[in-house]
Symmetry: C2
DNA sequence: TATATATCGGACATTTTTATCCGATATTAT
DNA sequence: ATAATATCGGATAAAAATGTCCGATATATA
């Protein structure tokens, strides 16, 4: 569904969100450890999230990553997916046709419209704040 | 969503289904041409579909691929996806957790359950017969 | 039976994704 | 200033997915 990079990106953002609310800025190593991901690969993803203004990064001693509380309420799951995987999961034809629309649909077009609409709604309405909250409350987990 | 192999496999099956109802057995080249796919790669996929009893193959002169009308009514989109991509699209955790279930869910578990359930229902209830029919009637297309 | 022509199946090549390495750069504390 | 330590960013490597090649095998027809 999502690429590995996107999975890591979502988990990383949730973890950083959670830690930011505890007043903690987190380092790359801490993130990779918390979400059980390869450190160097995670570095690339965090860079990308930072350049897309999903998370905030600071260099130097005591540097690391954070997300302001305000940003957490604005940010949806959709924003993160778009930043890493782009919009192909919603936009691309299920059968890979270059042009697939209501005028010239592939055989799966109508049937997938419903599924994609629900996926899109879900991603748009799910905020990072809520996701981080469920982890903070111990209702959900980021590893194993 | 689906792998390229799976996209080709679905399109190929629909085309073969359509042609079988016209009483025509189709060759690899004809299939690849009809669905605009690389011939050699398509050969692998058709072999796999044949060994999974999705389609019927015959060698030698006048050989090619076909699907009996009866089989077309039985076969669902789900059968083809399972044969090529396996069940990961439904079974795998959206965040890649090895163990993700109601007892120990990832932050996206509940939200994805609804989407996946709808996707599964759709795949199970969509028969190859219906898909081939929409192509035959010119309501849908397999290329561009 | 010989031949033409179709798929089969294994090895190989290319591209994309995933993952790693390391010097450069920025920032804080001494 | 300088040292310590964090991210940045470009090159490289490994793995997986996608795509190709070609001889082997099967089968209908002449």
């Amino acid at each position: 569904m999502f690429s590995k990079a996107c999975e890591y990106g979502i988990k990383a953002t949730i973890h950083i969100s959670h830690q930011s609310r505890l007043g903690k800025r987190v380092s790359l190593k801490e993130v990779a450890s918390a979400i059980d991901s390869p450190v160097a690969f995670t570095a690339k993803i965090l860079q990308s999230l930072a350049s897309n203004n999903i998370i905030k990064s600071s260099q130097g001693i005591n540097g690391g990553y954070s997300i302001s509380k305000e940003r957490q309420t604005q940010l949806s799951l959709h924003d993160i997916v778009i930043a890493i995987d782009g919009d192909k999961i919603i936009k691309n034809c299920a059968l890979g046709l270059k042009e697939c629309n209501n005028e010239s649909p592939c055989p799966l077009h109508d049937k997938f419209k419903k599924v994609k609409d629900e996926l899109l709604d879900m991603m748009l309405s799910t905020t990072i704040l809520k996701l981080g909250d469920s982890v903070e409350k111990g209702q959900t987990v980021l590893v194993v």
